[in-house]
Amino acid sequence: MRTILHSDLNNFYASVELLKRPELKGSPVAVCGSVENRHGIVLAKNMIAKAAGVKTGETVWQAERKCPGLVRLPVDFPSYHRVSARVRQIYQRYTDRVEPFGIDECWLDVTESVRLFGGGTAIAEEIRAAVKAEIGVTVSVGVSWNKVFAKLGSDMKKPDAVTCITPENYQNTVWPLSVGELLYVGKATLQKLNKLGVRTIGDLARADRALLAAKLGKWGNALCAYANGEDDSPVARVDEEREIKSIGNSLTYHRDLVDNDDVYPLLLLLSESVAARLRESGVGKARTVHVSATDNKLRRYGKQGRLTEPASSASEIAALAFSLFKEVYPWSDPVRAAGVSVSDFTGKTEQMSIFSDVVEGRKGEKMDRAVDGLRKKYGSRIIQRATILQDDKLKKAEIGGAHINTPAEEPPEED
């Protein structure tokens, strides 16, 4: 039997901010996007704000209404990445099988080292203590024999705690929980399961697999297996390259965009950042482009389409994104936010089509590579498209990386 840990950094962004400002420990604190740039939602909160009812994802004004005196702090992704990387180094003292799940969660397979360190619970306790002493933030750790139960365990006691889920106790500890707590059970699946009378994880474990398969397809069987602790998915090694399935980026604009011409520069900027990451990632070219848009009433629209030829250049991705956008967006209201992503990658080798102008394509690629080179050496703003230069805010945006930082969101200097 394996020994799997799932370690979850508690209230991660807020905890890092409290490292910088320990005097705020007794106050309700929320890390928020910038209101001026209209990213004004709560990204993370500490326990005190949570107790006052502040929820991740709600707008700043909703949060402040529930919690007067809420201290709002700006996001500082570079610090969060630095802390996250250091915490992973602590995990790696115990195993080389450390698989991240987002910036603040990791699975660890410690099967090979339990004898060395005295068991899964002992390792979990050591990690908990080390993260607290060395970094100053806390983790909650779940210990089990599979990834799904380990993750459930880390959710059960927070913060700064260890929870073990064993073959002896899982029916008493896990089965009474709502089925929505189970990893991979999203909103849609939860509704379907509830309709079948499946409300707890125990209900799911004991449900008729044929019925589940009929209503949910093969997912039904898989979920039922998870509820019984039958999950043998491996924990990836640290150096294992994880398969990239899609690359995307999105941005809430600082003002409403009123027509197609207004939207194009934003799509172009997003396509540039996506194309640059695509070329860097070494997954070849993309075949599919997906565009999404949110209007100022927060209704979402999206559409995807295939490129006639696989592409890795910003202009080709932007061209398709723009035409998809024009097809799908009804223009009943102005655009607040947009996103572009690409998927369905070719891999490194490429098949050439006799119908496309190969030489022209090469020229475009050469230019993209030259631009990438310049940006790597001198920063992303050294060379820009004329379309983007027309817009003051876009002009100053830092592209590249998973986030586009617009000026007001640039992290503050550390004291």
Partner: protein, 92 residues
């Protein structure tokens, strides 16, 4: 007990591998206070605002003292106990 963060000047020796050894604290009143010995060092959470500093536990003037190094801004600091009856200290 409340603490405040005081950045200090330092004399530090770098060996050929880049390893740092603190030699003396350059105190704000002009004194140079020698570090007798480094007892241990490693990452440790500070009591004052700082993200992941490295703590050097040292013998200084016959007593155990803690010096912190912030790699992000390459500065050293010490933690000062804040005396509630001393408005001069608080006003900083």
């Amino acid at each position: 007990m409340e603490y405040e963060k005081r950045y200090v000047g330092m004399q530090v020796r770098f060996d050929e591998s880049g390893k740092m050894t603190p030699l003396a604290v350059l105190w704000e009143d002009g004194r140079t206070i020698p570090v007798d010995r480094v007892i241990s060092f490693g990452r440790a959470a500070a009591r004052v605002g700082s993200v992941m500093p490295v703590r050097y536990v040292c013998m200084i003037g016959g007593r155990e003292r803690e010096l912190y190094y912030e790699s992000a801004c390459r500065r050293w600091f010490v933690e000062m106990k804040r005396r509630e009856d001393d408005p001069a200290q608080r006003s900083e």
